[in-house]
């Protein structure tokens, strides 16, 4: 398995560290206890497409959001986690204005 880092190109797996499901979001500090339990412990653990965080520690040190098939290890998409977060923030802000 190789990951194509947006900054460094195609690199071997041994350069990366895995940090798990990229779709979970930290709840607000005053969110319910159940929301925090969900965030810390519960996972969808899908058999198929999975969005996950990888850290390119032996390369550019970017955090990446990788979309990968957990059945075949096929990689569909690799993006900078920063870009994903910024896009998300803009979307959230947009929704806020509408509300």
């Amino acid at each position: 398995m190789r990951l194509t880092c947006p900054s460094c190109g195609s690199r071997g797996l041994e350069e990366f560290t895995y940090r798990g499901d990229a779709s979970v979001r930290r709840p607000a500090a005053d969110a319910s206890e159940q929301a925090w339990v969900d965030y810390v412990y519960l996972r969808d653990n899908p058999c198929g497409r999975h969005q996950e965080l990888w850290y390119h520690g032996a390369g550019c040190r970017s955090w990446l959001v990788v979309t990968r098939d957990t059945r075949t290890h096929e990689i569909f998409d690799v993006r900078n986690a920063r870009d994903v977060a910024l896009t998300e923030r803009q979307t959230d802000a947009g929704q806020g204005e509408i509300a």
Binding site: L13, E14, G20, V37, V40, R43, R68, T70
Partner: protein, 419 residues
């Protein structure tokens, strides 16, 4: 007349009549519900559960449904090690219960599972690790298990060819559990399947669960590729596929599925007479009765349902082996494979009710499920039959994460790929 029981007498008797009377080890059963109990998953844990339900808890009308074939999953994919060298109070009584069941298993199920108490030796390489192993050994002894602390000389006497004077990781000694060892893994599956079958359990192979039928908040049966099967109580023992099956009940679990690889070398003359683990990396090795070196290391570290891994971990495992035991450097690898690990968030298993009435969960075994097979079956059977946890499995609750009562043997926190 067919021969039912394995013994020296039956062996001689069958030898005299051309081996014509042996029965198949288990019937090819088809669903004939309703059942009192359905166990989903015909691996070691599921089969052991069905066996103990029938044997010790008087369970009637029991079925085990398995999506593949018996022995095709993790019970045939592990490194065959059994031990009870845990530290924490939630774990050690359970694993020691398992160890005791291993010791009587072959007589109990009338099957040669090649239980070999050859000892499990965990090496340490510095003072801090020595202190930690002394603490672990004391915990084991307090819970009725056995543990012996060996210094470097005693280890040298036992296994003289280890890399004792490595510059970075010199071997300072080890913690030995003499009662630990190995068990022939396939024979465990076949033996439990046969013993359960003899007690009337229907073992239904090639029957995949596709859905759960819930009526008025209670699970009443499962949809399968062989149709609907009604049941009073349903136990899930699906290892790496636990999250998928639990999702059919609308549940999310504190589990990620990961892939663990294991390896067997070409056959060699006997030279390793116990299980040895490297303390400065993750590497464990033993030698099978056929002579192959059976070894393994870390999980690959990313979510996977693929039953195959990648090369970096293979390299890492082999480096561990070379650091510990340089003489295996020119041994050729015969085969290697991967299995799906149900990695829980604290590295410890779950044997508990689910929020759905009539639905029970046995999962989260990480990569330590094989040694737990007998106790897991016993405790799950106890829970299914009596609706209360077995005394040695009271800590394995599903709600322990919400309560903050996690059992984190390695102290890694809620990150499954580090356990």
């Amino acid at each position: 007349m067919q021969t039912n029981r394995y013994s020296l007498f039956s062996l001689l008797w069958e030898a005299c009549r051309g081996n014509t009377g042996w029965k198949p080890a288990w019937r090819k059963a088809e669903p004939s519900g309703p059942y009192d109990f359905i166990i989903v998953g015909g691996g070691g844990h599921g089969l052991a559960t069905a066996y103990y339900l029938a044997k010790r808890y008087g369970g009637k009308r029991i079925a085990v449904v398995e999506k593949g074939w018996i022995g095709g999953g993790n019970v045939g994919r592990n490194t065959t090690i059994v031990r009870s060298n845990y530290l924490l109070p939630g774990n050690e009584p359970f694993y020691e219960c398992s160890m005791k069941l291993w010791e009587g298993l072959e007589q109990d199920i009338n099957y040669n599972a090649m239980v070999s108490q050859r000892g499990v030796l965990n090496l340490f390489h510095n003072d801090a690790q020595r202190a930690a192993y002394i603490r672990r050994g004391n915990s084991m002894i307090l819970h009725g298990a056995d543990a012996v602390l060996l210094d470097a000389e005693a280890v040298r006497e036992k296994i003289p060819f280890l890399n004792f004077n490595d510059a970075r990781f010199p071997i300072k000694g080890g913690l030995l559990q003499p009662r630990g060892g190995t068990v022939r893994h396939d024979a465990v599956a076949w033996g439990y399947a046969r013993a359960a079958d003899r007690l009337g359990v229907d073992i239904i192979e090639n029957c995949e669960m596709t859905g759960l039928r819930i009526e008025q908040g209670r699970a009443v049966g499962i949809e399968t590729t062989k149709g609907f099967i009604a049941a009073g109580k349903i136990g899930l023992a699906c290892a790496g596929n636990s999250s998928r099956v639990a999702a059919m009940a609308g549940l999310r679990l504190p589990i990620e599925s990961h892939v663990l690889q294991a390896f067997v070398s070409e056959g060699l003359k006997p030279f390793i007479d116990c299980v040895v683990t490297f303390g400065a990396g993750h590497f464990y090795i033993s030698q099978s009765d056929k002579g192959g070196l059976v070894f393994g290391g870390d999980i690959d570290g990313y979510n996977s349902y693929a039953q195959r891994g990648n090369l970096p971990v293979i390299e890492d495992v082999c480096e561990g082996g070379m650091a510990l035991m340089p003489r295996i450097g020119r041994v050729r690898l015969l085969r290697h494979w991967g299995g799906l690990m149900d990695m829980s968030m604290d590295g410890s298993p779950i044997i508990d009710h689910t929020p759905v009435d009539g639905l029970y969960l046995n999962a989260g075994w990480c990569y330590g499920g094989f040694k737990a097979t007998p106790a897991s079956g016993l405790c799950f059977a106890h829970l299914l039959a009596r609706d209360e946890p077995h005394p040695v499995a009271t800590a394995y609750r599903l709600d322990r994460f919400a309560r903050g009562a996690v059992i984190d043997e390695k102290g890694m926190g809620a990150q499954p790929n580090l356990h």
